[in-house]
C-alpha cells in the first residue's frame, strides 16, 4: 500500500478525464510568485492553500487556508513552509483554485477480495460519515468494467436524478478507469462538487492509495510515496527503507516515540505477535521492526543500529520463529556487529537483550549470541524449546 499526496493524486485523476481544479505544488514563495506570472488563473481565481504533507487534521492545525487572493496565498505559503508539526517540517504547499459550488457529493473506489467496489453518495464532505447508509455500492469482479447502465443505476440508487445522474455515472466510471488502470487500492473524492460556472462535476480533493508492488508497470509514477500514518517518515526510517529497496529479503523499521521496549524480530508474522505480547504485558513499544527472507548480514546490521539508537529503551527483543531458510548464524552476525558498534558508541547501557530463535544454523547463531555475555552484554539467549513470545514475558517481569 502506498499513499500518494493530493497533488500527484489529482494528477492521476486528471489523466483519466476527471475534472480537477487548477493547482500548483510549490516549495517556496518565490516559486509561487513565478508561477503567478505564468498562470493567469492564480491571479484571477479565489484560492485555497494547503500544507502538502502526509499530515492528519490539517484544518485544525491551521495548515489549510481558504478564500484567498494571490497575495494572501503567497502570505499563507510563506507562513506554512518551514513550520514544524511534531516530527515533520512542512516543505510543500499545494495552492489550488477555489471552485464555487452549492452541492457536494461523494465518490470512491475500493479494492475488495473479488475485485473492486464503486461507492457513490449524494451528500459530501463531513456529511458522508454521519450518513453512511446513503452511500450506495456497485461491486465488480476483477477484470470487469462497469457498463454505463450499471453506473447510472448506481447514481440513481444514490438519489441522483435526470442529467445529474448521467453526469455522476460518468464521473464514477472515470474514477473506476483511474482505479483500474493505475493499480490503485483506494481512491476517494470527497467532495465531488458541481462547478457553478459550467455545471461540470469536479474533484475537490483526492485520497489516493496505490499498489506499490505494481510500480514496475507505471513508469510515469514519478512521485514519491508518503507515510500512511499522520506523520512523515523519519530520517532513520527512510534509511532503512532505502536499504530495504536494495536487498534480497527485507528489513523494516518504524519508530514509536516514548516506548521503552525495542523490537528486533524476524518475520512479518512473528513480529506482530511479539508486538502484541509487549502490549499485552503492559510494555510500551519503542518501534516496529522486522527482517525476513534471508537478508544480507549488513542490512540486518543497519537495522540493529537503528534499534539500538532508539532513545530510552530498557529491553531489546530479538525474537523469531523457526526460520524456513533465513540463515540464523549469518543474520545474527549482522545483529552482533550492530550490538558491538552500539556498545562502543556508549549505547546499550542498562539495556537488557532477549533472544529466541530457530532455523538453519540455529545452534551456531545462538552460541554466537550467547558468547556476547563475555563481552559484557546483558544478554539472555533462548532456543526453540522456549515458546515464541516467552522472552517478552521474561523481559517485562517486574
Amino acid at each position: 500500500m502506498a499513499k500518494v499526496l493530493e497533488g500527484p493524486g489529482m494528477g492521476l485523476m486528471k489523466k483519466w478525464g476527471i475534472h480537477v481544479p487548477n493547482y500548483v505544488v510549490v516549495t517556496s514563495v518565490d516559486e509561487l510568485t513565478k508561477l503567478g506570472q505564468a498562470n493567469e488563473w492564480l491571479k484571477k481565481s479565489k484560492l485555497v492553500a494547503k500544507a502538502h504533507e502526509a499530515l492528519g487534521s490539517r484544518f485544525k492545525l491551521g495548515l489549510v487556508k481558504v478564500d484567498l487572493d494571490f497575495k494572501a496565498a503567497e502570505a499563507a505559503t510563506k507562513e506554512m513552509i518551514g513550520r514544524s508539526v511534531g516530527s515533520i517540517t512542512v516543505s510543500q504547499v499545494i495552492v489550488s483554485e477555489m471552485v464555487p459550488h452549492k452541492e457536494e457529493y461523494y465518490c470512491a473506489v475500493k479494492s475488495t477480495r473479488e475485485g473492486g467496489e464503486i461507492l457513490v453518495a449524494n451528500c459530501g464532505g463531513i456529511e458522508v460519515e454521519s450518513n453512511w447508509e446513503r452511500v450506495k455500492r456497485l461491486c465488480l469482479d476483477v477484470g470487469q468494467t462497469p457498463s454505463p447502465e450499471e453506473l447510472e443505476k448506481l447514481a440513481k440508487n444514490a438519489g441522483f436524478t435526470g442529467a445529474l445522474a448521467k453526469k455522476m455515472a460518468e464521473f464514477a466510471g472515470k474514477m473506476f478507469g483511474c482505479f483500474d488502470n493505475e493499480d490503485a487500492q483506494y481512491l476517494e473524492v470527497n467532495p465531488v462538487v458541481l462547478r457553478e460556472s459550467d455545471g461540470e462535476l469536479v474533484a475537490l480533493d483526492a485520497v489516493t492509495l496505490l499498489d506499490g508492488d505494481a510500480k514496475f508497470r507505471h513508469p510515469d509514477w514519478n512521485f514519491s510515496f508518503a507515510a500512511e500514518f499522520g506523520r512523515a517518515y523519519s530520517k532513520q526510517e527512510l534509511e532503512v527503507m532505502s536499504v530495504d529497496s536494495k536487498i534480497k529479503g527485507s528489513v523494516k523499521f518504524i519508530e514509536i516515540p516514548g516506548g521503552d521496549t525495542a523490537m528486533l524480530p524476524a518475520g512479518g508474522g512473528a513480529s506482530v505477535y511479539y508486538s502484541d505480547a509487549v502490549v499485552a504485558r503492559g510494555g510500551k513499544l519503542a518501534n516496529y521492526a522486522e527482517y525476513s527472507g534471508d537478508p544480507p548480514d549488513w542490512a540486518v546490521e543497519v537495522l540493529t543500529d537503528k534499534v539500538c539508537s532508539l532513545p530510552g529503551i530498557r529491553n531489546i527483543i530479538v525474537g523469531g520463529a523457526i526460520a524456513n531458510f533465513t540463515d540464523v548464524k549469518k543474520t545474527f552476525g549482522g545483529i552482533i556487529n550492530g550490538f558491538r558498534k552500539a556498545k562502543s558508541e556508549g549505547k546499550l547501557n542498562g539495556v537488557k537483550i532477549w533472544v529466541r530463535r530457530g532455523g538453519p544454523r540455529e545452534k551456531e547463531g545462538l552460541d554466537a549470541m550467547r558468547a556476547l555475555k563475555d563481552e559484557g552484554f546483558d544478554i539472555n539467549v533462548f532456543d526453540r524449546n522456549t515458546p515464541l513470545t516467552d522472552i517478552v514475558d521474561k523481559a517485562l517481569q517486574k
Binding site: 508474522g269 506482530v272 524456513n324 532455523g359 515458546p387
Partner: protein
Amino acid sequence: MSILANKDTRVVIQGGQAGVNAARRMAEFCYLIKRPLNVEAFVYPPDAGKTNEIPYGSGLIAIPVYRTIAEATKSHPGINTSLVYIGADRAMKGGMEALDDPHIKVVSMITEGVPEKDAKLLGTHARKLGKVFNGPSSIGVISAGACRLGVIGGAFDNLVLSKLYREGSFGVITKSGGLSNEIIWICSQFADGVTTAIGIGGDAYPGTDYVSYLEMFEQDPQTKAVVIVGEMGGDLEERAAEWYGAKKRRIKLIAVVSGFCQESLPKGMKFGHAGAKEGMKGEGSARSKSDALKKSGAIVPPTFGALGPAIKETYQELLKSGQVKEVVEPSVLPKLPKSVEEAMRADEVMVAPLIRTTISDDRGDEPCYDGYPASELINKGYEIPHIIGLLWDKRLISKQEAEIIKRILMLSADHGPCVSGAYATILAACAGIGLSQAVAAGLIMIGPRFGGAVTDAGRYFKYAVDNKMTVDDFLAYMKKNVGPVPGIGHRVKSLRNPDKRVKELVSYVKSLNMKTPCLDFALSVEQITAAKKDNLILNVDGTMAAVLVDIGFPVDSLNGFFILARTIGLIGHWVDQKRQDSRLIRLFDYLVNYAAPKRREVPPLK
C-alpha cells in the same frame, strides 16, 4: 491422508536459481521419507535445454529445463502441480500459463510483491477452472510423510525435529511463512504432529482463503483439528469463523490472531504483511476476528504463548476419545549425508589434500606471499624482485639482491623482433591470435637455442665451482658429457662486437664487493673459449645464470627470470602489432628453398 499435496504430486518449478534451491529442499524431504524426487521439470526459458542437478542423498539427479509449461507437461504427463518462483513483474503471466495447462491442478506462487490486481486475476481464473491457486507470497505446502512443495519446513534437522516424516492429526493454515514452521514444531511437541501445513501468503487478497482449505481438511479423515494463525486485516478469519459456526464440523478449530497491539498504537501504522491492515470501525481488527472465531466455537487462546497448551489439551481429548492413537516413532530415520565441508567442520572426516602449496595463501582478505600480506609488502617499500624472492625462493631477499634482479629483468625484457620468441609472437599477432596465446607462442620458443640456457648454464657453472674444478677440467668434462657449454657463445656478438648488456651486468655486480665465485668462474671459462673462437663469449644467459647462482637462487628457477622478463617484451610486441592492425604474414617464396621433387605425373592407382 493429506490435502493439496500428496504422494501423487508431481511438480514443475517455474523459475531460476530460487526454484533450484526449492527443489533441493524438496529433494531433502523426499530423501527423508524414502520416496523418489517429485520435481520432474523446470520451466525457465534462459536455461531451456539444459538440466539442473539436484542432490538426492549422496547422488545427483538431473532435472530438465523447458521453455514453456506445455513442453514440460508434454514430456512429463504426470505433472499436476506448479510452483512459481519467477519475479513479480512476470509472475502473473507464468501463473496463468500454468493454470491454463490441462495437466496442472494446483499452482502455488512463492513470489512476493505481486500486484494485488494480478493476484486477484489469478485467483479468479483458478476458481473458474476449478483449480487451486495458492499464494502469492506463500512459503509452500507440506504434507507430513508425503510431499513438500517449496521450502516450508526449513532445514533437514527441523524436518526431523518436527516429525514431518510421518503423519499426525493436525492441519495448519497460516499467512506467515516464518510462523508456519513454529506451528508445525508446536504441533509435534504438544501433540502428534501435522497432516498438511499450508502457507496461504500474507498478501491482502491471496488466491485462496482459510475456508477453501478448512473444507478440504473436513473431508480428510486423518485430520482431526486445524490450527489457524491469523492476523488483522481483510476478512479471511471472519469467513473461517462463519464457515466453522455454520454447522457442526468434524474437525476442531484452534485459532490465534495477531494485531491486538494496534489498539494502543498510532492509527494507520502498518505491520507485518501487506494484508495486515485494520479497516474502518474496527473491521478486520484482531479483536473482531478473535471474537468472531470464539463465537463460532473455535478454541481461541488469549495469547500466542497459550497456543501450545491449547493444542496439547485438544490432543489429550482426541486421545481420550479414541480418535487418535499414540504414535510409535520409527527407530531409524535416514540421515542426510553431510557435504564434505560440513563433515570437516564437525571433525568427522579427514580428506587427503589433492595438492600442497608452500608459497602462498589467498584464503584471507588478501593474498599472502610466503606468509607476508601483499599490501603490507607494498606499504613497507618492497618491490617486484622481493615478490620473486618470496615466491621462487621462499625468502625475503636483500635490497642489493633486489637491485641485481631488477637490472636482470630490465636488461632481458626485450631483444628486438628478430629473436625466435618475439618473431613467433608477432607471427601469431598477425594471424589474429589473442594476447595470451600469442605470448605463449613466443614463450615456447624459449629453449636451449633461445633464452632457455640460463638454467643449464647455472647448473654446470655451479657444478664446477662446487667441485672445485679447473677451467680445463670443466671444459673436458663438458665436452665428454654435455656438449657445447650453455651460456657461452653468441650468434651475432663476438670479442670484436661485444655485448654491452653483459658488460653492464658484470661491472655492476663486481662493483658491489660481494663474493661471486660462479661469475668469476664463468669469466675465466670465457677467456679460454673466446681465445679459441671470437664469438664463444659469455652471453646474457650465462651471465644471468652465474650472478643468480651467486646470490643463491635455486638452479631450477633460473629460466624463470628469462621467461618473466621476456613476457614483458612479448606483450609489447603483440600490442604493437595490434595497434598497427598488421596484416597476415605470408612468407615470400623467394625466402624458401623449394627442395621438393619437381612436378611429375601421378601414377595410376594400383
